[in-house]
């Protein structure tokens, strides 16, 4: 068996970063809109 642990770790790390980046971006955007609506509601 060839040693491919580096590839394995890189693959999982990269995939996780892409997903996490999207979740964070969605969270930031929704928080910004929620704040905006909060200001409007006052």
């Amino acid at each position: 068996m060839i040693d491919t642990s580096g590839t394995f770790i890189a693959g999982y790390v990269v995939a996780t970063i892409v997903y996490a980046a999207y979740v964070v971006s969605l969270w930031r955007r929704s928080r910004a809109v929620a704040r905006k609506l909060e200001r409007r509601a006052k």
Binding site: M1, I2, D3, T4, S5, G6, T7, F8, A10, G11, Y12, V14, A15, T16, V18, Y19, Y22, V23, L26, W27, R29, S30, R31, V33, A34, R35, K36, L37, E38, R40, A41
Partner: protein, 244 residues
């Protein structure tokens, strides 16, 4: 966040707004984490490729869900153009955005795997990867087009036209890449991440990972859809504020 959305909804006649981040998305993230744990610690390494084969669980699941999400965009674009329904347009937008995230995962994990196993980062004769790249371009164009139009109705029409033409384009790209690959490699017999018969333990992990990522994909689309409602509500309140 919940209370904010509800008070805003009470103040207007817009569709009811619900929280973007709720237990469904949390559960989906937990499911993906559980699959990670199972794939990393409790699934044996494949004999020929070693640990690199485990990328398969992330890569293939992302590919399946990316294609599902992009298909939803194409289908909803047709509905949006036909019925002029804002909800269909919003769902098309949501699944396109989530789709490009999953496509990006496919496009990054694929070369990482290929670099070790094929000895090359990118292989143009690998049909699915090449097709994914062109799909990524079309979805990126779709999202840029949406960002470049201010009028809601016009944005819905234009982006739906692009999505439907994109759906027509896919078979042509598929055929073209196939004919291109056939010229270079008469019958591309290479090591594929998918083995014809996986040992049952790996198969279980694979099925679980597809389920978990599909759930995650659906939860993201749902969250993005809810965010879309909030954003449109804020924009329309802005417009009213300016008019008054």
């Amino acid at each position: 966040m919940t209370s904010v959305s509800q008070s805003a909804a009470a103040a207007s006649v817009a569709p009811t707004t619900r929280p973007v981040f709720d237990w469904v998305l949390g559960l989906a993230i937990a499911a993906v984490a559980a699959v990670y744990v199972r794939a990393i610690y409790f699934t044996p390494a494949e004999a020929l490729q070693g640990l690199a084969q485990k990328i398969y669980y992330v890569h293939v699941a992302a590919a399946i869900d990316a294609y599902v999400a992009v298909s939803i965009t194409a289908l909803m674009s047709l509905v949006a153009l036909w019925l002029r329904d804002q909800r269909a347009d919003r769902l098309a937008e949501s699944s396109a955005e989530v789709g490009i995230v999953f496509l990006s995962v496919v496009l990054t994990t694929g070369p990482i795997w290929g670099h070790k196993i094929w000895g090359t980062w990118w292989a143009w004769w690998e049909m699915r990867l090449t097709l994914t790249l062109f799909l990524w371009f079309v979805v990126a164009a779709y999202l840029v087009l949406r960002g470049a139009i201010e009028d809601d109705a016009m944005r819905a029409r234009y982006s739906a036209v692009l999505a439907i033409l994109g759906a027509l384009l896919i078979p042509f790209i598929h055929l073209s890449v196939y004919m291109f690959a056939a010229r270079l490699h008469p019958m591309p017999v290479v090591l594929k991440p998918s083995q014809p018969s996986l040992p049952s333990e790996m198969l279980t992990t694979f099925v679980l990972s597809v389920c978990a990522f599909t759930f995650f994909c659906a939860a993201l689309i749902r969250a993005r859809y809810r965010y879309g409602i909030l954003r449109d509500l804020a924009a329309s309140l802005d417009a009213e504020g300016n008019a008054a």
